[in-house]
């Protein structure tokens, strides 16, 4: 049996009295694209941050290439983080740096690459996401939302990571730009041969990016299967979510007038 690229086993996290993750079990195989769907506040982002070591889980095991990475520090943590790329929901581009410096940041600071060489790679990656070299000399604040997402994607793939996380990659974009970003994600990931874990509540995005789909609800993975199975899951929670119905087992804490 092959070792999964990323494996979460019984991962739990609570903040105060709120239990955000309650024993998450997930696997992402080599070169596989897993999309985790779920509503707002179901623990998707916390799950990603646990894997990246930004938040320490209360319990559970997170394995990358078969090695538990929970609690790693110093050089060991740097080494495992170098396997990851991450596209943040809001882009998280550094305002004070030019676009090319943002894309080359991990290469220069993380890997100690010379600036001239890193800049060449950054310009190449910008081209990969459909942006020309002139854009590299601008600051993030001078770009539209769609262009910022492209730059963030270029930064995520710049160091050619083995695992890429996409946190709500299409949030805040118009449907056409969202589709452009989805296409770019599929192309870039295919070229790199990377494993990906995407969290989203955009079903169009999920259908385009995913090999497999899992649904998270109240800190649990309540269903998982292939992309083709999602429409015939037989799971009332999944059905309600993918069709965007207000009525169903998922209840929203909204005061009705």
């Amino acid at each position: 049996m092959t070792t999964p690229k990323l494996k979460l086993q019984g991962v739990a996290k609570h903040f105060g009295h709120k239990r955000v993750l309650d024993g998450i079990d997930l696997e992402v195989g080599k070169g596989e694209s897993l999309v985790v769907i779920g509503g707002s506040g179901t623990g998707k982002s916390v799950m990603l941050k646990c894997v990246l070591g930004l938040i320490r889980p209360d319990r559970g095991v997170i394995e990358v290439d078969g090695e538990n990475v929970v609690g790693l520090r110093g050089f060991a943590k740097d080494a495992y983080l170098s396997k990851f790329g991450m596209l943040f929901q809001g882009g998280a581009l550094f305002d004070s740096l030019k676009v090319w410096q943002n894309v080359a940041f991990g290469l220069i600071q993380g890997r100690g690459m010379k600036r001239t060489h890193a800049k060449e790679i950054a310009i190449d990656k910008l081209g990969r996401v459909g942006l020309n070299a002139d854009v590299g000399e601008l600051f993030p604040a001078e770009l539209s939302g769609g262009m910022q997402k492209r730059v963030a994607l270029a930064r995520a793939i710049a160091s050619e990571p083995e695992i890429i996380f996409f946190d709500e990659p299409t949030t805040g974009l118009d449907p056409i730009m969202a589709d452009v970003i989805n296409d770019l994600i599929v192309e870039c990931v295919r070229d790199l041969g990377a494993s990906t874990l995407t969290i989203t509540h955009d079903m169009a995005s999920a259908r385009k990016i995913a090999d497999k789909v899992a649904m998270i609800y109240k800190g649990h993975i309540i269903w998982h299967g292939s992309k083709d199975e999602v429409d015939h899951s037989g799971n009332a929670f999944v059905d309600q979510f993918i069709h965007g119905r207000a009525d169903g087992p998922i209840t929203m804490d909204v005061l009705k007038p």
């Binding site: 070591g53 990851f84 550094f94 991990g106 600071q109």
Partner: protein, 258 residues
């Protein structure tokens, strides 16, 4: 039911928890200050931001403080015919206390607030998380350069403030109060001891460290959106100012009461 003991207990626990978090943050920051790699370009950029751009506000503060000091001391000392002490008291007052403390407070208002706002915005827009995912330690990249730059720059700023403050007193003393140019300068130099200046510079270095620490701490732990960043900025300036005044007493006692 309202329980005053529980209220005191909660406040005490909260205070010690905050103090503990701050101590850990400071320890982590210092650890990255002394351990390579060092981001010298970032330190240089911060030194310009903290030092060069604070020069106008620190210079004006020192100038007017020296001028007011000369006037007040002259008015007070004339009551017992000790007007000749004006120059000496101005220079000792400026170098030991007013130069470092007022510069520290002015720079805290400008720099701690800016640091808290910048790091706070980076926190709420996930830029600090992005640093970590790009194999860059946020303490080394964001906190350590600011701590180093502020600790080095504040003594330089205070030395300039000392000179400008003494010049303010000199201007008022000679142009308004009728002191002789040469004798005012002679009184200034004759009674000034190296420890007066050195103690002020040591204070400045400590104040620089404290104001950068407070700016970074509150910005780094900023929560929520614009409101959280606003609260972090306010807390940074208030806590830096209070810590500067408290540290001033402790350092003064350390230097001059033995």
């Amino acid at each position: 039911m309202y329980n005053p003991l529980a209220l005191v207990g909660r406040a005490t626990l909260s205070f010690f928890a905050s103090a503990g978090r701050l101590a850990l943050f400071a320890g982590n920051g210092v650890q990255h200050v002394v351990r390579p790699p060092f981001y010298l370009a970032l330190v240089g950029r911060q030194m310009i931001s903290i030092g060069y751009f604070s020069l106008p506000v620190v210079g004006l503060t020192a100038l007017f403080t020296g001028m007011v000091l000369a006037l007040q001391i002259y008015i007070g000392s004339s009551r017992f015919n000790a007007e000749s002490a004006v120059a000496t008291i101005v220079v000792i007052g400026i170098t030991r206390e007013l130069g470092p403390v007022l510069s520290g407070l002015m720079v805290a208002g400008r720099v701690s607030a800016a640091m808290a706002a910048e790091l706070g915005t980076m926190r709420v827009t996930e830029q600090i998380d992005a640093l970590t995912t790009l194999s860059t330690n946020p303490f080394k990249y964001l906190v350590a350069p600011r701590l180093i730059a502020a600790t080095i720059t504040m003594p330089i700023l205070v030395l300039i403030a000392d000179i400008i403050g003494v010049m303010g007193g000199y201007l008022v003393g000679t142009a308004k109060l009728g002191f002789n140019y040469g004798s005012y300068l002679k009184s200034t130099v004759d009674f000034l001891e190296p420890m007066d200046v050195i103690s002020g510079l040591v204070k400045a270095a400590v104040f620089g460290f404290l104001l950068a620490l407070m700016g970074c701490y509150h910005g780094y732990h900023s929560k929520g959106g614009a409101q959280g960043v606003g609260a972090a900025t306010t807390n940074a300036v208030v806590s830096a100012s209070v810590l500067i005044l408290a540290a001033n007493y402790l350092i003064t006692e350390m230097f001059f009461t033995s």
